[in-house]
């Protein structure tokens, strides 16, 4: 369980400080998929970094099963970025095992697990490829395996499919759900795409524009396992419309039309 309690985050700028997050509170349950949506610059990425311990917070606290986060801790969180951030000079297998090397654990113990995960994300046969030879979607799959290889407690994903075309993104959504079903990981998922958020999540957190606060937390009424067809169901459309309404509050009225 991740408890985010009254978190404030400020960035020091040349002309004083600005708040990026103001009084954010949120509890994420074990094995849950929670999406963060909100206007650009509202602090979604910042919140992920605070959870991972990469950014310090000025007020409030973040607890992992009751233990406060005070900096990056080995093996606790798996990060996935919008870009795959693979090291070009390493093969898929070597990229996937990078965290193991950094932790100083024996590589050989993880090769089988790496192969399983590579198969799970549909990269079988590409383990010895260099990233440059893979498509964007395939690179992102490798990045997901890299984040899972060390069994982190939580997967933090920052618009991981934002750079992919719509169809590939849908495939990756299904793939992520399959991975989630198999591994039971807690996932915090940032996206710009409210339909993606609705489709994947148990709950969607809608944030206000800067400084980011939680505007509303919406539970997704769709059953599991999710299927592509659900994207066209009445419940889904109603949910999407509701999320849309919550996001549009921040738009200038003229733009809403």
């Amino acid at each position: 369980m991740i408890q985010i309690q009254g978190v404030h985050k400020m960035f020091d700028l040349a002309d004083g400080g600005t708040y990026a997050l103001r009084d954010v509170s949120l509890t994420i349950r074990e094995g849950e998929i929670v999406s963060l949506i909100g206007p650009s610059g509202c602090g979604k990425t910042t919140l992920l970094y605070c959870i991972s311990g990469l950014e310090s917070i000025v007020k409030g606290r973040i607890l992992f099963d009751g233990t406060p986060v005070e900096g990056p801790r080995k093996g606790e969180v798996g990060l996935v970025f919008q870009k795959a951030v693979l090291l070009d000079w390493r093969t898929v297998m070597d990229n996937v095992l990078l965290p193991i090397e950094v932790f100083g654990r024996p590589r050989a113990h993880y090769v089988d697990r790496a192969r399983e995960l590579i198969e799970l994300v549909g990269l079988t046969g590409f383990a010895d490829y260099l990233p440059g030879k893979l498509s964007g979607g395939m690179q992102q799959r490798a990045a997901i395996v890299r984040a899972l290889i060390f069994e982190p407690r939580v997967l933090l994903m920052d618009e991981p499919f934002g750079a992919l075309d719509a169809l590939t993104r849908e495939h990756m959504n299904m793939l992520l759900l399959r991975v989630w079903e198999r591994t039971g990981k807690t996932i915090v998922f940032v996206t710009h795409d409210l339909e993606e958020a609705a489709f994947l999540s148990d709950r969607v957190v809608v944030m206000t524009s800067r400084p980011g606060t939680v505007r509303e937390i919406v539970s997704v009424p769709l059953p599991r396992p999710r299927t592509i067809d659900m994207r066209y169901s009445e419940d889904f459309v109603r949910l999407a419309r509701q999320l849309r309404g919550l996001l549009d509050v921040d738009l200038p009225t003229a733009a809403v039309g």
Partner: protein, 247 residues
């Protein structure tokens, strides 16, 4: 081939003192072979020592600066200033300080090849993807791990490019230093030939220098290709508009 023919035709219309033709120059090359070879070894020694020394110091200093903002802040103004100094103009000074032996020539060659390596090492080690740094940080990576697994592989192509520039610069540096000290080496031989109005010998030496420069460059090019292929690295980059690397 066309260049050779043009050279030959041009030499027919000019005094051999100003522009000797390719055939007399080639004859001279053979006749002065051993004289040229003796001096070639001297120059080559200076180049290699200066290049190896200058690039090593450049890479080490660059690595230190890339890792420390503070060091960067302290050293940067001095580096910027010393880059603006035409290093060749320092040759007489180094002769004064270090005598007429190998010292001043190696120093000049080292000084000139230092800068491209310094600059390329800094850029190569620094310009890594900020997200990759976040990734390493999230894994709790130690600084040496970030260096070995991220910065060095990323910076290596830049450093290799710097080495190619550096070896050419070292050649320029050694020859210019020899102009000033006029004792041994191919640069000195050019000055002597000039004093004797032996234009053919001058041309012969210049050709030898050019061939040597090309061979050194190609050698590093081979090393670069080998390293890039072995370590699966991409191309290095160098900003061709940079002017502060003046010899």
């Amino acid at each position: 081939m066309a260049a050779l023919v043009t050279w030959h035709l041009a030499s027919l219309t000019t005094s051999p003192l100003i522009l000797p033709g390719p055939i007399p120059v080639a004859t001279q090359l053979v006749r002065s072979g051993s004289l040229i070879m003796t001096n070639l070894w001297v120059t080559l020694t200076e180049i290699v020592l200066g290049f190896v020394g200058g690039s090593l110091i450049g890479i080490i200093t660059g690595t230190a600066i890339a890792h420390s903002r503070r060091l960067d802040g302290i050293l940067r103004p001095y580096i910027a200033t010393s880059q603006a100094v035409p290093k060749a103009a320092l040759a007489p000074l180094f002769v004064l300080w270090l005598g007429f032996g190998l010292g001043p020539k190696v120093t000049i060659a080292a000084l000139i090849s230092f800068f491209p390596l310094l600059e390329n090492t800094i850029v190569g080690l620094r310009r890594v993807d900020p997200d990759a740094l976040k990734l390493f940080a999230s894994l709790g990576a130690r600084p040496w791990q970030v260096f070995l697994k991220l910065r060095l592989p990323h910076g290596l192509p830049y450093i290799l490019t710097g080495l190619k520039v550096g070896v050419v610069f070292a050649t320029v540096g050694a020859v210019i230093a020899e102009f000033v000290t006029a004792n041994k080496g191919l640069g000195a031989l050019i000055m002597q030939a000039q004093g004797n109005f032996d234009t053919r010998l001058m041309f012969a030496v210049i050709i030898v220098l050019t061939v040597m420069g090309v061979i050194l460059y190609e050698l590093l090019q081979l090393i670069e290709r080998w390293a890039l292929r072995t370590f699966n690295l991409g191309e290095g980059h160098i900003d061709p508009t940079r002017t502060e690397w003046n010899p």
